[in-house]
Symmetry: C2
Subunit: 334 residues, 2 copies
């Protein structure tokens, strides 16, 4: 908390900066969004208020998931380079299901995506560990909105395939790509099924020439697994592809499939419906985050919180009656 | 919702019934706990208020986790039978990380634990799908308290190893056992690490005579994985055991290890500290659940919710300003 640093830009400076694609200000705005300090959050929201475009957007938000080692970052870099090659600006974010004890970002340092991060049409934001256990936080959604305001047309959101974070990413992206490895057999099925359900496409990654046969088997496995699942979006037949970022195999096909998905879903209205659903969810996530903050910062609550907690911990008051007393303090006196 | 059914028991009937170990009333009380209807919840809490014993409890709460197919239910049955053989009453519950789209209980029908469910000192409660995505709900914790009130001294909580549900079970049990399979190699490491962190013990299950060598290798793998992790509880060295429910191998060792853990942790105070921490967490989970309900059922909120939501979805209002308006309605007028 050094005091003598340069003054924070004003909201309009942020807005102008974002509109002109200023990366420094975009990063600064994302930091505000990720901050836990109320004044930062209000500022971030004020910026977003004047940034986000009403109505349906022309951007494409893609969630990319898979178990550790599935080759997510390499594929993201190759796909990102393909996207910028086609003249679109791409932003890469990560949802970090930071474990309860150890923390750490997925993307890690940008050097894992050297070529892409050096590109003028790409923006890479390693995630700050949220500590939200897979992120019930709306932060990533807000970061997506900021990137779009800064003119990034394709947003790639990396998430690790542990189940919970997919549910979160599913609530803020248009398309979910699941990466699996050649020969990754049935052991992961239990975990994969939950993720398969929300995948719009599966790629057997690292399907390098050497492991083609194995990859073909995994492809068949994944296809039969998908057949058992209910359709996710009407009018979309979930495919399984073979990709090799290393040999730049299947990457452009991957991108054109995503474009085809986007076109199909925009035409049948699914795209807009899903975006609206996600916006509704964001609204209530923000409401509930703020509500909790109002509650815990309320004088009447702060006044008795400590003693209620002690009574509960000493066993002289049940957690249920304790909860009621705290709520009465809040509802009664606010 | 049939109207002409037998009248609900009164709170004191519930309390007396639980104290006398009446299974029907225990099941009924758990159903109240799991109900989403406010009046049911209040009744459940009133029952718990007069049931739960203040101060530290002599019960043992054990979380048992592992990937699908790790043999959780067979091990739980064998362990449960060992526990009742030693004269303790055991209750088996499940945390169901019901996926976003498909639902379904882990324990499924009791027939998976035929012998144990037939035993007079055992109570088995298949979980109702919570839909809480791995359960941020306090319901399981409340169910544990009900079972303890009904005189069950050992509570076994089954959970599937997908990451999130372990965090939840970790917030309500004293001991966590992770089951892995012989030969379950490094592929799961990424997922396992997060779970390993909260495991107090790892069992290589299905270590039947035929797969001993493979099991020994997995044991060594798990041991080295554990060595890399920070200690979970001071004074407890996390062990890896070989178990075979099929051949009743290692089950009694498993139980005596748990008893040894319990004794050690009670003596060094960790047990009590963890229980208090869990009680604190339960208090605030209940508070926040109730707070949300108060909010959404508040007249002023209900009055504008629909129009705010429409403005947000039509893009004429940002979700951030929309959230503020809803909060002002609640805080301002309650």
């Amino acid at each position: 908390m050094t005091r003598n640093r340069a003054p924070e830009p004003t909201i309009s400076e942020f807005v102008d900066g974002l509109r002109s694609g200023n990366r420094q200000l975009l990063s600064k705005a994302i930091t505000l969004v990720e901050s836990s300090r109320p004044e930062h959050e209000s500022m971030a929201h004020a910026i977003l208020d004047s940034c986000i475009s009403p109505g349906s957007s022309s951007t494409i938000r893609i969630g990319i998931t898979g178990a550790p080692g599935a080759g997510k970052s390499t594929l993201i870099e190759t796909l990102g380079l393909e996207i910028v090659r086609q003249g679109k600006r791409v932003a890469v974010l990560a949802i970090d299901p930071s474990s309860s004890r150890s923390r750490g970002s997925i993307l890690g340092d940008k050097s894992r995506m050297e070529k892409l991060s050096a590109h003028s049409d790409a923006f890479i934001r390693p995630s700050a560990s949220s500590g939200y256990l897979g992120g019930t936080s709306p932060r990533t959604h807000e970061t997506i909105l900021l990137c779009e305001a800064a003119g990034y047309e394709v947003i790639l959101v990396e998430t690790v395939g542990v189940g919970q974070s997919e549910i979160v990413v599913n609530s803020m992206v248009d398309f979910i790509l699941l990466l699996i490895l050649p020969g990754s057999g049935d052991d992961l099925q239990g975990i994969k099924r939950g993720i398969m359900e929300i995948a719009d496409m599966v790629a057997v990654n690292k399907a390098d020439s050497g492991r083609r046969t194995l990859a073909e088997i995994s492809k068949a496995d994944a296809e039969s697994a998908l057949r058992l699942l209910p359709e996710k979006h009407p009018g979309w037949n979930r495919k399984v592809m073979l990709t090799s970022a290393l040999e730049d195999e299947g990457i452009s096909e991957l991108w054109s499939t995503i474009l085809h998905f986007s076109e199909t879903m925009r035409n049948n209205g699914v795209w807009e419906t899903q975006r609206r659903e996600q916006l509704r969810l964001l609204l209530y996530t923000i409401v509930e985050d703020r509500l909790k903050r109002e509650f815990y910062s309320h004088p009447a609550v702060k006044g008795i919180k400590h003693s209620i907690e002690n009574q509960v911990l000493s066993g002289s008051l049940s957690p249920f009656s304790g909860a009621l007393k705290l709520l009465e303090a809040f509802v009664g006196k606010s």
